[in-house]
Structures are given as C-alpha cells and as structure tokens.
C-alpha cells in the first residue's frame, strides 16, 4: 500500500506542490489567507485547515515582498504557568523567535552566535532592528523562565513589538509580515485561548497579518474578540452535495496512491464513492480508510467502513473525555444520544437520510454535547437558522459513514440512502425530549480551567509506578519518599543526585525526563 500522508505536519515543504488539490471554496479561502485582513479558518479535525494555511504560507514565501511565518504552537511545560501575563509573553516570545528564524533564513539577519565563527567578532552591539527584536524576546523569555518576580512595567509592550516589525518591513522593503498560527485552539486551554485571541487582535497593524486555524465547538474567543469585526471568518466545508465533490476527492487520493490501487479504484468506482461519501468532506478520514483497505472488494470496504465509523471515530470522541475529565459524562451522553436516539430515528425515517433538526431552545448542556460532537466531526452544523413548524432551530448533518456503518452492508445502504439525501428532508427534535433530562445536572462550563486543573492534579497524584523507569529506579525513589509523579516533578536533578545514593547526573536526568514526558503526554491530550 502507498505511503499515505494523513497529516499536513508530516508533509515536507517540497512535497506540497505534488499533493495539492483545490476546489473553488479552497481557493476562496486561500485568497482570504493571502489578503491583508486577519483571517480565522474554521473546520473540524482533519478537514485540511493546516494544508490550506501551509499552501498560502508557501505561496507568500516565494514572494520577496512578504515575510511569512508559520507557527505550530507546541505544548511545553512552560505552558502551564499560573500567571496569565506570562502565558501571553510566552506566546509572543515564541512568535517572535520564529520570526527571527525566518529573517535569518531569508538572509535578512545574521546569527550573533555564528557571527564569530569565521571572524573574531563576537560582539553583539550592532544597533540593528533584528537585535532589538532579539532583546525583546530575551526579556519575555526571562519573564517566564525565571521563577523570580518580574516587574511587568520593565517589559516591552505589544506596541514595541509592532514598531520593531514595522521597522524591519521598512528597512527591508517588505510590505507585510504574515503569521500563520496553527493548532492554537487545539493545544491551549480555554483561558489560554482567550489570551491567544487577545494577542491575535493586539497584533493588528498595517504591517502584520495574523491568520489562525480554529475548531468548531471548542474555541474560546473571550469578550474582547468579535468574530465578525476582528477578522475575516471562513469555514472550511466540503459538502457531499457539491457537484465536484467526488472528482475533487478522487484527485486528492490519486496524488497519494500507487498505480495498482488507482486501477482498483477505477474498476470499483461505486465502492470508492461510498468511501468518499462516508468521510463527509474530511480528507484525513478518507485517506485513513483508504490506507486501511487491503483490496477494493465489497467485503473489505464494508469491514473498513464499519471499523472506522463504528469504532475508531467514536473512540476518538470518547477520548476527549480523558482530556477533559470533568466532561466525560457529557461526552458519553452526546455519544449515547446520537448513537441510540438520533441515528436510529433518522435511519428509520425513510425520508430524512442524514440530516436532523433540533430546536434552538434545547438545554445548554445538550448544545454543549452537540458542540463537542462537531469538534470530532461526527456531526456538522449545517444551518443554524432553519424554521420547522414555526420554530427556529439548527440543522445538523450526521457523518454519512456513521449512518451507513450501522448497517451490516454499508455499501448497499449507501446506494439506498444516496437517493434521498436532500437537506430538506430531516428528522426533527423538539426542545423537550426525555433523553435531555439525563444531563440536566451536568455543569455547563465545558472545558473550564478549573476542571482541567482538577484533572491535571489527579494525573500528578498518580504513583511513579506508571512511569517508564526501571524497578531499581522506582525502588530508589520510593526509599526517599518520592511516590507520586508530582513529588518527582517538583524536584530538580540536583536534588535527586543529592538525595539518592547511586544516582548521578545520567540517572537523575532519566528520572526527571520520565516525569516530564508523562506530563507532556497528558497535556498533549
């Protein structure tokens, strides 16, 4: 089977051009990302937001009039700082460091480290604007790296940063600097997301354009950020009703598979079409299923669809609960509601195929559960202003694959419902339903920081037995009363060396890394 790239992050820059496929909506989105307006691109996981952002970024990168900086926010232990200002500075420092790297790559700045490599000049007294920016980064980094109290008034503010960027542009005949923020809304907790959008807004300048990818349902903008006024808001959505839907996905798949598989697909067009419809506009899901198919035969395709859309997709949704422990019940309720109530009702309604409508006055908890389902793209908000019997409500599309996977023969079921998949035919759910009562008492504060903190604490309280350490190392730690991940996490390597006989720098590092790795693994979600 071909080596299929499921994630944009796994694609090298020089491979993009060979894998790119765009339709009219994609091109409109790219044009928005290239415009001088800040842009937010919304789409569920795996819909291709990063890919389009990367395409726009690479396009700008070829043009000497612009500097384009792609920032994939990563999770670091520094992210968990208690001070909101420190977090803001952390984001700003990361953004500016990536910009400095870019200036270096473009030949607009020279590293002070290597300046002395071939000359004896090791001074860093150049009064260049790049050095100003470096100093700003240093000040921000010191503000969160050192645990010491920092006088915030001594730090540069956002206007200093904007001024520095403006000067870089003016000195180097650059029209604008573009920042592409990826994964910010995924990596950060709600409180941090609000700060991210403050930064996004604060960076507005004639010389700076910020673009970011966001998710439906789990993005928190904060009070000061207004989606309509503060950015160009675009939604990445590929409707199965689009006339070029099948051709578009076929071209995309054909860019990644070998001739043998291409020939199988050409011969088994109906089976391929079922797979394409199943993904409901989500390239990663389609490529995932294609990767798992050993041969294009009905039984194999049916098996793959059932495995993916009955098991894998729901497992992913359920693991959201591991990440946000306080919401496990809500996530589970959403799954039950959809699997046991909505989908069977929709399927039994001969006219409704894959759509359902729900009253706008349903309990907030139900809305939140539905929002979480849009994040994993099991459902898609199709239109939030639809009238049914005089009442306003939202129409959702259920993932096509999740519907047909319930049947023993998904392929046959697909042929059947394909004929009736009009958006005008949907099953209605009113503002009252006996199932809603089951989540009445759940918190509506979805993904709150308090709950995150609670779940983080419970992780830190786990025994060191869960860590990847040898029995000897665990025993030694326990002899010194270091029993939990937290007790190990707060210690420095030097403490371990001093406390434990037989532990030197190497073993101390291994022990500390094990605790850090566990923490990173956890907050990575």
């Amino acid at each position: 089977m071909s080596d299929i790239k499921l994630r944009t992050e796994s694609i090298r820059d020089d491979e993009f051009i060979d894998l790119a496929v765009t339709n009219a909506n994609d091109e409109k989105i790219i044009a928005g990302l290239l415009s001088s307006e800040p842009c937010l691109l919304e789409g569920s996981r795996g819909t291709g937001k990063s890919f389009l952002m990367k395409m726009a970024h690479l396009d700008l990168d070829k043009n000497n009039d612009f500097i384009s900086v792609y920032i994939p926010f990563n999770i670091s232990s520094l992210i968990n700082t208690a001070d909101p200002l420190q977090f803001y500075h952390w984001m700003l420092a990361k953004t500016l460091k990536t910009l400095l790297n870019k200036l270096r790559k473009k030949g607009l700045s020279v590293s002070s480290y290597s300046k002395g490599l071939l000359s004896n000049d090791t001074t860093e007294d150049d009064e260049t604007i790049e050095n100003d920016l470096k100093n700003i980064v240093k000040l921000f980094e010191n503000s969160y790296k050192n645990k010491l109290e920092i006088n915030i008034d001594t730090l540069p503010d956002i206007e200093d940063v904007k001024e520095a960027i403006q000067e870089i542009c003016e000195e180097n005949c650059i029209k604008r600097v573009y920042f592409f923020f990826d994964e910010a809304a995924h990596v950060f907790r709600p409180k941090q997301q609000r700060q991210f959008f403050n930064l996004f807004k604060d960076l507005r300048s004639p010389y700076i354009v910020c673009n970011a990818a966001i998710y439906p349902g789990v993005t928190y903008f904060g009070d000061s950020f207004e989606l309509i006024h503060d950015c160009l808001y675009q939604v990445l959505d590929r409707k199965i009703s689009d006339t070029d839907y099948l051709a578009y996905f076929k071209e995309m798949v054909f860019k990644q598979i070998d001739d043998k598989v291409k020939s199988q697909i050409d011969k088994q067009g109906g089976l391929f079409k079922t797979l394409v419809l199943s993904c409901a506009g989500n390239p990663r899901m389609l490529l995932n299923t294609i990767q798992n198919i050993s041969s294009f035969k009905i039984a194999e395709v049916n098996k793959t669809i059932r495995e993916f859309y009955l098991t894998k997709i729901w497992t992913e949704h359920t693991t959201l609960g591991d990440k946000y422990k306080g919401h496990q019940n809500l996530i589970d309720w959403g799954r039950d509601f959809l699997e046991k109530i909505v989908i069977p009702t929709v399927v039994s309604n001969e006219k409704s195929s894959i759509y359902f409508w729900i009253d706008k006055d349903i309990p907030e908890t139900v809305k939140e559960a539905l929002r979480l389902l849009t994040y994993t793209s099991i459902i898609k908000k199709e239109n939030s202003n639809i009238r049914a019997h005089g009442r306003l409500g939202t129409r959702y599309e259920i993932k096509y694959g999740c519907i047909i996977a319930l049947d023993k023969n998904p392929y046959t079921k697909s042929v059947e419902i394909e004929k009736i998949r009009s958006v005008r035919q949907y099953t209605e759910f009113s503002k009252t339903h006996s199932e809603y009562d089951n989540i009445e008492n759940l918190s509506v504060a979805i993904l709150s920081d308090e709950q995150y903190q609670k779940s983080l604490e419970s992780m830190l309280q786990q025994s060191i037995d869960v860590l990847s350490l040898t029995n000897w190392q665990k025993r030694k730690l326990k002899e010194e009363n270091i029993n939990t991940i937290e007790e190990l996490y707060i210690l420095k390597e030097a403490d371990l060396i001093a406390k434990i006989y037989g532990v030197g720098p190497v073993k101390a590092r291994i022990m500390k890394n094990a605790a850090n790795a566990e923490l990173l693994e956890y907050i990575s979600g």
């Binding site: 920032i71 232990s77 990361k94 270096r104 790559k105 480290y113 290597s114 071939l118 995924h186």
Partner: protein, 235 residues
C-alpha cells in the same frame, strides 16, 4: 605581471563571482540559518569536547559556503563533506569515548565505514533504539541518504574526471555548481539534524529543548516522533 598582480587578478575574478553568488541571498540565508542552529545546539550539549566538535561542524559549514561564494567550488564541496564527516564523527565519538580521545590526540581517524555501519553505526536501528526508539523506523532511509550524498561529495573531493569538468580549473562563476551545492547542503544538513536529534534530543534540559523547539518544529516537523516529542500534534 608580478605575483601580487597575478593574485590580485584572481581576487578580482573571485570578487565578481562573489557578487553573483550573493544575489541568491535566500539560499545563503538558509545555509546560514542551519549553521547558526547547529551552533546553538552545541550550546546545549553538556560534554565540553562534544560541544567544541559541534562548533567546528558549524564553522566548517560556514567555510564551505564561503568557498562557494568565492568560486572555489571544489573546495566548497570538500569542506561540506568534511563538515558532514565531522558531524557524524561527533555522534560516533559521543558513544565511543576512547576513539574520541585518540582522535583528539591525533592517533585515530574518523572511519566512514564505521559511522555508516548498518548494524552498529550511528545511522542504524540499534543506535535509534538506544537513544530515540521512536525513530528506529525512520533511520534506515537516513543511512541510505547519507551514503548517497557522501558518495556524490566524494566525487568532487577525489577529483573524478567528470567532476573536473563540472567544477573546472579556471575561476569562473558556475550557476549549475552553485545550485548543486545548495541542494547537497540541504541534504547534508537534513541528515545532520536528524542524527543530532536522534542522539541528544531526549537527554537535553527541558529549557534547552524549548529554546530549540521553534527551529526544530519548522525543519523537522514532518518526522512524527520528533514533532510529538516537542509537544506538536500527534500523528
């Protein structure tokens, strides 16, 4: 013409080449960014001899590009190969202290065959398993790539007849060789960055990892195991 005039004339030619070469500031910037990053990486190493050797690699990479800018193409390829050998040699010495000290004393050489050995070299599964297990599936392709790029650079160093035609005996600007150099530099740096991270990334202080992460996520995010280790999205 005396000897001063003679060399002045060569220098003038070289300066003409220099002016043409620096027009491609973007490629020069990219090579400089890599050398600078390798230097920054050396700052994070604990062992002083390893730190020094990595600095020499960074310096050698800059020398290679300086040669290129002056039209000394063969010397550029030769310096690039030396930087590559030293970079891989450093990794080898970091796990073979005896050989490292002998090399420092001038009693031992960096042996390419040992570096590249498929079973016990620094681009072997065994090596990855010991230092960055999750990279053991990726390492084989880097071994093949290392052999290929080394062979190509060696052609310029050993003076194969074909390469004499390519690099010439007269100092003059050669755009094809310049393009070739930047391609080889990219490949060399990609392998060096991979093996450096395979060997050291997991043993660095978390603050140092954080400091290197922006650059690494830009250069190596397509390698899932490295991306995930740095806190990037999972595959």
């Amino acid at each position: 013409m005396n000897i001063v005039d003679y060399y002045s004339e060569i220098n003038n030619k070289s300066q003409d080449i220099f002016q043409k070469t620096i027009e491609d500031s973007s490629s020069l910037g990219e090579t400089h960014a890599i050398s600078a990053f390798i230097f920054e990486f050396s700052e994070c190493l604990f062992e002083i001899k390893e730190k020094d050797m990595l600095r020499m690699v960074a310096s050698q990479l800059e020398t290679a590009t300086l040669n290129l800018s002056l039209g000394l193409y063969r010397q550029a390829f030769s310096s690039l190969r030396l930087a590559f050998e030293m970079g891989l040699g450093l990794i080898f010495f970091s796990i073979h202290k005896l050989e490292h000290n002998e090399w420092l004393n001038g009693e031992n050489d960096i042996k390419w065959a040992k570096l590249i050995d498929e079973n016990n070299g620094i681009l072997s599964k065994r090596f990855a398993k010991a230092f960055f297990r999750e990279l053991s599936e990726d390492i084989e392709q880097y071994n093949n790539r290392a052999k290929k790029v080394y062979r190509e650079m060696s052609e310029y160093v050993h003076g194969n007849n074909e390469t004499w035609e390519k690099s010439g005996l007269i100092i003059e600007y050669n755009e094809n060789l310049q393009i070739r150099y930047f391609k080889l530099f990219k490949e060399v740096s990609s392998i060096l960055l991979f093996v450096l991270n395979c060997r050291y990334l997991k043993s660095l202080e978390s603050n140092d990892v954080e400091g290197l992460s922006e650059f690494l996520l830009e250069e190596l995010s397509h390698i899932a195991a490295i991306r995930e280790f740095l806190g990037g999205v999972k595959e």
